[in-house]
């Protein structure tokens, strides 16, 4: 990895070439760290690097300035090689204040670089960050390469001739000074960011001028500063040719639904209630009225799903979006959707639980809730996205399965991939698979609402407005053909079993799961959902280091599991199921394949897996 390469040497003019680098920008909530990080990752992506990003901000909207809990951060991982996570060890930390340094130093390994704004290391700010002595003076940072820059003063100096700026706007531009420095260090052009300001502040020329000036100032400062020994360059990554853009997981999810609506010909209806970290899907979809999207912000989670059920009954592609506690509230209505067998997609962007838990942190602990969190026998389809970009594919797939199988589908993502971003090779609707449906277009006398497709067992779908197909559905048990209320004992058992069988048969329509690295061997690493990047890069690193006895399989289809699951599990001596919970997928696998011994590696800290902890665990299991 890059960490070995980055220890700097004073080696003259030519930029040093690196495979990958992890940069973290940290500062106060108001310091503009999200913008700084986004600009750096966008610029790098356009340069051709593979990138992965992860924002980390406090749940308080405006925490007190300079406080430890008010620190906002943005991590960028860029590389000339495949990048599948935002990275573990930070190569460069840019700390705009003492609180940022204090809360993020743990992520920087000794020998790596820290840039600080010395102007912010005042006695007051040090006190707020609970520093007893100034870390810049007490030798506690001796093992790091610390670059001290009085960014605030330099920013002020750069802007002394720009008219129409108040003191606050001047101070707020210092993030651009930092960005300018980092652009020079990693051999990036500042042009993309200049263009960005020109577009964003079209009518406020003095703001454009100020930011551009400070950006330049930082860039040239870094160039002339002897303290910076050399610049680094990261070559473009080898990626499949095509048109790309950087996309956030939640945006990709929203766009997947837009694509599914266009492909299937249905209008898209979203019923939703704001909840972290799922709300950005609502934010995205409300923008797209031009595609006829009907986005309804309801009075609560229950009304969110209930309105979607109504819209589905009326013939829309209906979805509802939420996070853990919201899924709990939606449970009863989800049971209704299952009972009346209508298409419905429920997105659960998982966060730390239980109860209110850790709303801004990631976790995979809603899997069993998705599988079983309803009264009665109520199976639904459960699938999971595994990267920010493939949220697009799985949102599309969830819609397709819902419509084709006349069933609710729960799509699980999580805070990590939902807020993370990565390059997405843009797909068009033409490239996506067809979506068929079970709609009955006109009356014929043999028609019955609960008659099923012989293969999929999906029931007929008759939409209000269609003459002669008037019928009633509801939560009471229904007769197997007419759908009328039925209390007949044998009918209830039959219907329970056929609803179960319908979901099982989805197996015939989903792809096999594929394993990577060793096809057979001593250890199989098993994951599902948003941990793909972490697990894949850990196993890849081991495999490349000579551990050719380790394989990896990652699941996107949870209920039902792919047909070939058992075949894959059978090829390894040990199986370790890695998840960000206390072992929920391991339980699902045990229920399905009880002749295997599933070892577990669980992390329940609201954080993604780290590369080194995974490798350590795998090596230990191989002993």
């Amino acid at each position: 990895m890059a960490t070995e390469n980055i220890i700097a040497e004073k080696n003259g003019q030519k930029p040093k070439v690196l495979d990958a680098v992890v940069i973290r920008f940290v500062g106060d909530s108001g310091d503009g760290m999200q913008l700084t990080g986004t600009q750096f990752s966008d610029t790098s992506a356009m340069f051709g690097n593979d990138v992965a990003t992860f924002p980390n901000y406090p749940s308080e909207i405006r925490a007190p300035q300079g406080s430890l809990y008010g620190v906002s951060g943005f991590q960028v991982h860029i590389g000339s090689v495949e990048i599948s996570t935002p990275g573990d060890d930070v190569d460069l930390l840019v700390a705009m204040n003492p609180a940022g340094l204090k809360t993020n130093l743990f992520a920087v390994k000794p020998g790596h670089t820290i840039i600080v704004d010395t102007d912010s290391f005042t006695r007051k700010n040090l006190e707020k960050a609970k520093y007893e002595t100034n870390p810049l003076e007490d030798h506690s940072l001796e093992n790091y390469r610390v670059i001290e820059v009085s960014m605030t003063s330099l920013t002020k100096e750069a802007l002394k001739d720009v008219e129409g700026l108040d003191n606050k706007s001047i101070t707020r531009s210092k993030n651009m000074f930092a960005l300018g420095m980092v652009y020079w260090m990693y051999d990036r052009s500042i042009q993309h960011t200049v263009d960005f300001f020109n577009k964003k502040f079209k009518t406020k020329q003095h703001i454009v001028e100020a930011n551009t000036k400070v950006l330049h100032a930082g860039y040239f400062f870094a160039e002339t500063l002897e303290l910076i020994p050399n610049a680094y360059s990261i070559a473009p990554a080898k990626m499949t040719p095509g048109t790309y853009r950087i996309i956030m997981g939640n945006t990709a999810t929203a766009w997947g639904f837009l694509a599914a609506a266009e492909k299937s010909g249905f209008e898209l209806f979203l019923g939703s209630y704001p909840i972290t970290p799922a709300t950005d899907i609502l934010h995205e979809l409300v923008k797209h009225k031009h595609f006829g999207v009907k986005a309804f912000q309801a009075e609560d989670e229950i009304a969110g799903i209930s309105s979607a059920i109504g819209a589905s009954f009326a013939g829309d592609l209906a979805i509802t979006t939420t996070s853990g506690p919201g899924l709990a509230l939606k449970g009863e209505a989800l049971g209704l959707a299952m009972m009346i067998e209508l298409p419905l997609v429920i997105v659960n962007v998982q966060r730390g639980g239980p109860s209110t838990g850790l709303p801004t942190k990631t976790e995979q602990s809603d899997l069993l809730q998705a599988m079983y969190g309803r009264n009665g026998e109520s199976p639904v389809i459960v699938i999971a996205a595994s990267t920010p970009a493939n949220c697009f594919d799985y949102a599309f797939e969830a819609s397709k399965l819902a419509i084709e199988h006349m069933s609710p589908v729960i799509l699980l993502t999580d805070g990590y991939i939902a807020n993370g971003s990565a390059p997405w090779k843009i797909k068009t609707v033409d490239e996506m698979p067809d979506i068929t449906n079970n709609i009955i277009q006109e009356y014929n006398e043999d028609w019955h609402p609960y008659e099923r497709n012989e293969d999929s067992l999906a029931r007929n779908w008759a939409i209000p407005g269609t003459k002669g197909l008037e019928h009633r559905v509801g939560g009471l048990e229904k007769d197997r053909v007419s759908g009328n209320v039925s209390y007949v004992p044998e009918n209830h058992e039959y219907m329970t079993k056929i609803r179960d069988e319908k979901i099982k048969r989805v197996q015939n329509y989903i792809p096999d799961v594929t394993n990577e690295f060793a096809d057979e061997g001593d250890l199989l690493v098993v994951g599902w959902g948003g941990t793909y990047g972490s697990l894949h890069s850990a196993v890849k690193e081991m495999y490349n280091d000579g551990y050719t006895n380790v394989g990896f399989v990652h699941f996107n289809y949870i209920n039902p599991l792919p047909k070939n699951t058992k075949d894959i599990l059978s090829n390894y001596k040990k199986i370790v199921v890695c998840e960000l919970n206390n072992g929920q997928f391991a339980k699902v696998l045990k229920i399905n394949f009880n002749d295997f011994d599933f070892l577990q590696f669980n992390k329940i800290q609201g954080l993604p897996f780290g590369n080194s902890e995974l490798i350590e665990k795998f090596k230990q299991l191989l002993k």
Partner: protein, 336 residues
């Protein structure tokens, strides 16, 4: 459009399912009134959708030969909102009861009224939980003895009309469960009204709360105890048509024509279409006479109209007509 609507009779709206309410229940009256009203509305049978929650009343959709959904407890307003927003051409009816609408579903009920989606709510108010066999409901009276209040209910009731108008209901009507002719016409008027229409039906539960409205609805006293208001007409009631309402300061007062120089000209004239709901609230709260009829019918912009106008505006300005226009917009880059 109405020219293409077939001529229906009540039989066209009667499903093949056996009706299973208790003998003597007012629900039968409501069902038949609805089946008679629908042919008069000029809507196509296939465009009619009944959505219900849970409770005795909520079995209603099974008995109507239209599209219907028997939903879950309290959520019918939310389900129906989704139906109507998905397809504004449908005639959508929410069937609910006092427990369903005002206890477990209170939140959805008030928000539907606030939004003013063009659909109709029929609220079967019997001041009791029937299907769970006799517990007090949010409209049960203080002191009322029920299975869950053997020593008398201690929770003060909601008045559905007061709650509804406080939630910005634009259309509120009230009617006794034993007056099918007026009820039929009221259903037709509710369908014609553009916006959320709420009809509270004083529905007698013969098993658990028999006679709860008798003092207002009994044929012998009905005309003396009820004031059936009509828009533009003076507020007159009584068998002799000699009683009426006047406004005395901030209170409504019952007067007798011919006494104290009162003539018909002195009586209040009902204005259901007035935007200011103050007088409507006063009418709703009155104990004597009990005011029935269409108390409020104020035409306002509906949610669908606002949404449609916005959608058209956004569409006309947008450079996106297909998703690929969006996906390739903004900051993209080429990898070669």
């Amino acid at each position: 459009m109405e020219a293409t609507v077939e001529k229906y009779t009540f039989k066209d709206f009667t499903s093949d399912q056996e009706v299973r309410w208790c003998p003597g229940c007012d629900d039968y009256v409501i069902l038949r009134s609805m089946q008679k009203a629908l042919p008069e509305m000029g809507v196509k049978k296939e465009d009619v959708v009944f959505i219900s929650g849970i409770g005795c009343s909520s079995r209603f959709p099974y008995y109507m030969d239209t599209y219907g959904m028997h939903g879950i407890h309290g959520r019918a307003p939310a389900i129906a909102s989704g139906v109507k927003l998905a397809n504004p051409d449908l005639s959508v009816w929410v069937i609910t009861g006092d427990g369903d609408a005002m206890a477990i579903g209170g939140n959805h009920f008030i928000h539907l009224l606030r939004r003013n989606i063009n659909l109709n709510i029929i609220l079967f108010n019997n001041e009791i939980y029937g299907l769970t066999k006799g517990q007090f409901s949010p409209t049960s009276l203080v002191g009322q003895k029920t299975k869950s209040s053997p020593y008398g209910n201690t929770q003060p009731p909601f008045s559905p009309g007061e709650l509804a108008i406080g939630s910005q209901a634009r259309f509120f009507a009230r009617i006794g469960g034993n007056t099918p002719k007026e009820m039929t016409q009221m259903f037709i008027d509710a369908e014609k009204f553009k916006g959320t229409s709420l009809i509270e039906i004083l529905q007698n539960c013969v098993i658990f709360n028999d006679g709860c409205f008798t003092k207002y609805t009994d044929r012998k006293v009905r005309e003396d105890m009820q004031l059936f208001v009509e828009h533009g007409k003076p507020m007159v009631f009584g068998k002799e048509k000699n009683k009426g309402l006047v406004l005395n300061g901030l209170k409504l007062e019952v007067v007798t024509i011919g006494e104290n120089n009162i003539t018909q000209e002195d009586l209040l004239v009902h204005d259901a279409q007035e935007k200011d709901p103050t007088l409507h609230q006063m009418l709703v709260r009155l104990d004597y006479p009990l005011v029935t009829g269409i108390i409020r019918s104020f035409t306002d912009v509906t949610l669908e109209e606002r949404e449609n106008a916005l959608t058209e505006e956004v569409k006309s300005k947008s450079r996106f007509s297909k998703t690929s226009d969006l996906f390739f917009s903004g900051e993209t880059y080429e990898v070669e």
